[in-house]
């Protein structure tokens, strides 16, 4: 490359190629996407966040919450389970279907329905089992569930997909998990008072929490004739001196409204799972999932 013209032409081509590929095409694909329909229902998704929650997104942005919290659930795969709902009238036929499916006949399999017959099988086996059982007069259902450690932790029922962010500006995705993922915090912890208390004194609400307190979102003020209905109920060393109260500012209330609006718990075509969800009891219940009395 001896000539400057050639040099800049090369640079221009390389820049334009990546620009077209990673800006133009995603804009055509995602930027112009329409709202999706929730699988099995008729609701459009995602709905715009209500006014206060939309303001709260700006509080989240301004204070850089996304530097410690991600807002994306990772999914590692999908599994299918077959559930026997009812055995029908001809139990002998159902039991012979069990034999055909290589299922254990111990422990009286037709008692205590509905129960999981097959767990984590592939599509063809699930379909075959369902058909065999239904031919025998039983009623069998297939449950689809997302798998992965995030989902096991109870952080969501499925992986996040591009459509989840269609109403957000900025998207506030986050690339760190110094704190827990917040994609579904509104489902996991729907109590606004919990959130306000947690913002004021995280370690008093979640044991051993390493989150810094956000006291600047609250105001300590003298109680006038009547205490404010918004004032936090605080005990012990957190309580302000008598005659004073701790009141959340508008920013704190907006932020909590935003957190409560964070929900991606509906099945979409591109992120299928069957509702009602598997009874994924979050193992890590010492996180934000802990309700506080």
């Amino acid at each position: 490359m001896k000539h400057a013209g050639m040099l800049f032409l090369t640079g221009f081509v390389a820049l334009s190629a990546s620009w077209a590929g990673f800006i133009l095409v995603p804009q055509l694909q995602i930027g112009r996407a329409s709202l999706g329909m929730v699988t099995g229902g008729s609701d459009l998704y995602p709905q715009p966040r209500p006014g206060l929650a939309a303001q709260g997104a700006q509080v989240y942005r301004a204070n850089g919450c996304y530097h410690c919290h991600s807002r994306q659930v990772r999914q590692e795969g999908a599994a299918m389970d077959v559930i026997l709902a009812s055995a029908g009238t001809n139990q002998a036929q159902v039991l012979s279907a069990f034999k055909l499916l290589d299922l254990s006949l111990a422990d009286n399999p037709l008692v205590g329905l509905p129960r999981d017959l097959l767990v984590d099988v592939d599509k063809s086996r699930a379909d075959f089992a369902q058909k065999t059982l239904e031919d025998a007069g039983a009623k069998a259902m297939i449950r689809i569930r997302a798998t992965g450690s995030d989902i096991k932790r109870g952080w969501g029922q499925r992986g996040s997909v591009a459509r989840d962010y269609l109403q957000d500006q900025p998207i506030l995705l986050g690339w760190q998990r110094l704190g827990p993922d917040l994609a579904n915090i509104g489902v996991r912890q729907p109590d606004p008072v919990w959130h306000l208390k947690h913002l004021y004194a995280p370690d008093k609400v979640v044991e051993r929490s390493s989150m810094p307190p956000y006291r600047f979102l609250f105001e300590k003020r003298k109680i006038r004739q009547t205490p404010s209905p918004d004032a936090l109920v605080l005990e012990g060393d957190l309580a302000p001196e008598p005659g004073f109260e701790i009141v959340p500012t508008g920013e704190a209330k907006a932020l909590v409204a935003y957190l409560l609006s964070l929900k991606t718990d509906v099945p979409l075509f591109e992120a299928p799972f069957s509702a009602p969800a598997p009874a994924a009891v979050p193992v890590a219940s010492a996180t934000n999932a802990t309700p506080v009395p």
């Binding site: 699988t39 099995g40 008729s42 999908a78 591009a162």
Partner: protein, 203 residues
């Protein structure tokens, strides 16, 4: 201050010469590397990336895989779409349950007009409307229905008719978008609502 270091900093400034650039060739193995990476990358892309499909997200690798995971109930997109349209456009008079309303609109449940094999008849009703006496499941009606479906896209009209033919215990083959388009073209220009007698004459 270290004097020798200091002076060498300064002295070097005037003595810089830029040596010429050599023209050693790129080693053969390095020339092969892009080809290997390209083929490896293309294979990986082919396996995992679903060829630019906007709907496929990791961990899924193809549209087929996602389709196979759709719950069987409610998996039919046409029916879901039809339900949405029905509840927006039709349900006000005919009811969410399709049972109709006395003195307002006849029922769809088990209606011979809905389940007819001659779908051309059925499609014409929402396209231009229906007026005058009509018998539904042995009951006489004399009402006027406006052309509720005239403004709907063909896909939506097909979806809502398919939904009506399969909801509430009804069972009949779906109405396709092509059939709706054909009927719309065949009746282009007509603004008058149909009468039951005229519809019966439609083949």
């Amino acid at each position: 201050m270290n004097d020798s270091t200091a002076s060498s900093f300064a002295a070097s400034s005037g003595r810089d010469t830029e040596p010429p650039v050599g023209t050693a060739p790129v080693p053969m193995w390095l020339m092969v590397l892009p080809i290997l990476l390209f083929f490896g990358g293309a294979l990986y892309f082919d396996w995992t990336a679903a060829w630019f499909n906007p709907v496929v997200h990791a961990p899924f690798t193809s549209l087929k895989q996602i389709e196979s995971l759709q719950p069987s109930t409610g998996g039919d997109r046409l029916l879901i779409r039809g339900k949405v349209v029905y509840e927006q456009v039709c349900a006000l008079c005919h009811g969410v349950d399709g049972a109709g309303k006395p003195g307002q609109a006849p029922t769809f449940v088990g209606s011979e007009w809905v389940l007819t094999d001659n779908v051309g008849q059925l499609i014409r009703i929402p396209l231009q409307g229906l007026a005058g006496p009509i018998t539904v499941k042995g009951q006489e009606w004399n009402l006027a229905m406006p052309a509720m479906g005239a403004a709907l896209p063909d896909e939506d009209l097909a979806a809502v008719l398919t939904y009506m033919r399969n909801a509430w215990g009804n069972q009949a083959p779906p109405v396709t978008t092509e059939q709706v388009t054909a009927t719309r073209n065949a009746t282009k220009g007509r603004t008058q609502p149909w009468s039951a007698v005229e519809l019966k004459a439609v083949q």
